[in-house]
Symmetry: C2
Subunit: 349 residues, 2 copies
C-alpha cells in the first residue's frame, strides 16, 4: 500500500526537472507523515540531478531542506503530534549500531546513512525521494522540531546549509577570542558568517568579489579579505585559528593555509574533487596546521542548531521560488546569482 504523491523530479542527467508522481509508503509504526510547506535548493541537488557525482539513480526527486507539518503518525510514534512544525534534512535513517551512530553522529554511519533522496530505504530497499514533493514519510528519529518563532520558509536551508556550517564550528570549539575565516559567500558561506559571529568569534570573509564587502559585514563578518589580492593575503599570514572553506569546486588551498596560525585548522565542507592544485606539505608541517573535512551534522546536533537559531534569531537569507522556475534557479545557482538560498514554496506545486 502507498500514496501517490505529486513531485518535481528528473528522469536522466541531461533532462530538466518536471512535474511527476511517486509512491510514498504507508506509515510504519515509527513513521511520521509530513505535508511539505517549503524546501530549500542545495547545490548538491544540482550535482545529483545531473549525475555529477556519478551515483545518481533515476527517477530522482531532489530536496533535503524540508519544512512541513505533521499530518499523521505511526502507531509507535511518541515524539510527534499532528500539526507539529517539523524539518527533515539530508538523512532519513542510519544503522543505529556503529560507534558513530551510537555517538549521535549518524552522518558518519559506518554502514552509510540513508539519505533523504537518491538513496535506498534500509528496510524495503525502495528508492528514497526528497522534498520537491507535496509530502514525505520519515522515521520519527530523523524528524527535527522547528522552534516557535523561526519563520518557516527561511528555516528550510538550516537543515543542510545551516547544519553543514554549524557542526564544524562547534566541533572545533569556535568561540570568543578566536580568529575565524570563511571562504566563499554562498548558501553555506552566509550561514557560516552568521554562526561564527553568534558564537563570539572575530570573523573574516575571504572572497574574490570586492563588491561582497558590505553584504559580508551585514551578515556578521568583521572584515573582508580579497583572496585575489596577494598583498592582503600576505598581511593575513599566521592570523587565523580556523578557516571554514565553503567553496564547492576545486581551488588553491595553499594561500589559505598560509593565513593559519600554528595548529590552525582549514576545514572543507564543499566536495572539491580532487584538491588541486596540490597542497604544499611544508605549509602543514611548518605550522602543525591541518586540513580536515566535515559533512552536515548528527540529528541531535541539528536540533541543537535549530534551537541556537531560534535563540539568536538566525535564519537563512532566501529567495522564495515558484517550483515551475526550478530549472532556471539551477542555472542562476551555477552563476552564483542567488542571495543566498532558493527556497521552493511548495504551495506552487
Amino acid at each position: 500500500m502507498s500514496t501517490t504523491t505529486k513531485t518535481y523530479g528528473v528522469d536522466a542527467a541531461d533532462q530538466p526537472l518536471r512535474p511527476s508522481y511517486i509512491e510514498r509508503r504507508d506509515l510504519r509504526p515509527d513513521d511520521v507523515a509530513i505535508e511539505i510547506l517549503y524546501c530549500g535548493v542545495c547545490h548538491s541537488d544540482l550535482h545529483q540531478a545531473r549525475n555529477e557525482w556519478g551515483n545518481s539513480r533515476y527517477p530522482m526527486v531532489p530536496g533535503h531542506e524540508i519544512i512541513g507539518r505533521v499530518t499523521a503518525v505511526g502507531s509507535a510514534v511518541s515524539m510527534w503530534r499532528m500539526g507539529d512544525s517539523v524539518g527533515v534534512g539530508c538523512m532519513v535513517d542510519s544503522c543505529h549500531a556503529c560507534s558513530s551512530c551510537q555517538e549521535g553522529l549518524e552522518q558518519y554511519c559506518e554502514e552509510g546513512a540513508t539519505f533523504t533522496y537518491n538513496s535506498v530505504d534500509r528496510h524495503d530497499r525502495s528508492p528514497t525521494y526528497g522534498g520537491y514533493s507535496e509530502r514525505i514519510v520519515v522515521d520519527q528519529k530523523f524528524v527535527l522540531r522547528i522552534p516557535a518563532g523561526l519563520p518557516l520558509q527561511a528555516a528550510a536551508p538550516l537543515l543542510c546549509a545551516g547544519i553543514t556550517t554549524y557542526s564544524p564550528l562547534r566541533h572545533w570549539r569556535i568561540g570568543p577570542g578566536m580568529q575565524v575565516g570563511v571562504v566563499g559567500l554562498g548558501g553555506l558561506g552566509h550561514m557560516a558568517l552568521k554562526f561564527a559571529a553568534a558564537l563570539g568569534a572575530e570573523v573574516t570573509l575571504f572572497t574574490r568579489s570586492e563588491d561582497k564587502k558590505s553584504e559580508a559585514i551585514r551578515l556578521g563578518a568583521h572584515e573582508v579579505i580579497l583572496s585575489t589580492d596577494a598583498e592582503q593575503m600576505s598581511l593575513a599570514g599566521h592570523r587565523f585559528d580556523f578557516i571554514l572553506d565553503t567553496v564547492p569546486h576545486p581551488h588553491d588551498l595553499n594561500p589559505y593555509l598560509s593565513t593559519l596560525k600554528r595548529d590552525g585548522q582549514l576545514v572543507l565542507v564543499g566536495v572539491l574533487e580532487p584538491i588541486a592544485p596540490p597542497v604544499q606539505a611544508r605549509l602543514l608541517i611548518g605550522g602543525r596546521r591541518s586540513i580536515s573535512g566535515s559533512v552536515i551534522g548528527g540529528i541531535a546536533e541539528t536540533q541543537e542548531m535549530l534551537d541556537f537559531c531560534a535563540k539568536h534569531s538566525i535564519t537563512a537569507d532566501i529567495e522564495l521560488l515558484d517550483i515551475k522556475d526550478i530549472n532556471q534557479a539551477y542555472e542562476r545557482m551555477l552563476d552564483s546569482d542567488v542571495r543566498y538560498r532558493f527556497v521552493i514554496d511548495m504551495a506552487t506545486l
Copy 2:
C-alpha cells in the same frame, strides 16, 4: 676571535663532501663549547648538501644529530659543566618572544628558528655550521642533557629522527587502546615504531616490502600491512586513530586516509612536495579526517623525549660510520640501504 675547527663540508650542490676548516666563534656569556663525539646522518643533510630545497648556502657543514661533551662554558652559563654529556639537535636559537617560543615550541618560531647548519646566527649574521665537525659552540638553552645510561652513539639520531616522531605522537596524545599506523620503515619510521609501542598503542607498519615484516615486529610493530596489496589495505578501512607518515618523497595519501577512523589524523613528517597525486576531499569530509604536519619538537619536549628514552631503554638502531665514507653513505641512504641510521664516529675525523 675564533677557533679554527676541522669539519667535513660541501662547497656546491654537485660536489662531494670533503675535509675542510671553519671558524667557530669564541664563547659568548651564554655559550657552551662541545667536543663532538658522534653525529647522526639525516636525510635532510643530503637534501641540503645537494640544494634540493633550493635554500642552501655554501660552504656547508651538515649534521644536526650531535652528541658530545662540554669542554668550556661562557661566563653566564649555569646549566652546564665541563664533561657533561650533551646533545644538540636541529635548532641552536629562536626569537624567544613569539607565542610559539613562549610556549616552548621553538620549532614553530614565527621569526623562524635558527637551524644548526645552513642558517644564519641571529646575533652576528654569521653562517651556522653543523655537526660533521670536531666541535660546536651553542647557546646553553639549546643544549640537551643525555641521561646516564643512554649509549651515546645510538642516542645521536634521537636529536632529529627521535624528536620528529616523538613530538606528534605526544601532541596527538597517543596511548593505550589506540590504533596507530606508521608509514615507512627508515630512520624516522623505526623510531616511530619504538615510541608508539612504548606509549602503549597497538602499532601497525605500512610498508611496500614484504621482507620488512620481521624487522618491524622486532622494532615494536604488532602487525604489518603491505601497502601495495589492495586487499590488505581495504581490510584496514576505518581502523586507525592515527597514522604517522614518515616517507620523505611524494606518494599517494588517499589509500592511507581510507584506513583512518572517523576523526582520525594522518600526520606528515616528511617534506613531500607537492602532495601528489592530489588528496580526495571526500575522504576527509566523509569521516571528518585530517591531514596535518609536524616538524621536530621544542627544546623542552626534546629533553622529555631523551628522558623517556632512558626510562624505556630506547635508542636508534645505527650503523657506525667512518667519516671518510660519508659520500658513499649518502648513496646508500638514497637506496634505503641503512638499518636504520648512519652515525659518524667523529674520532675518525
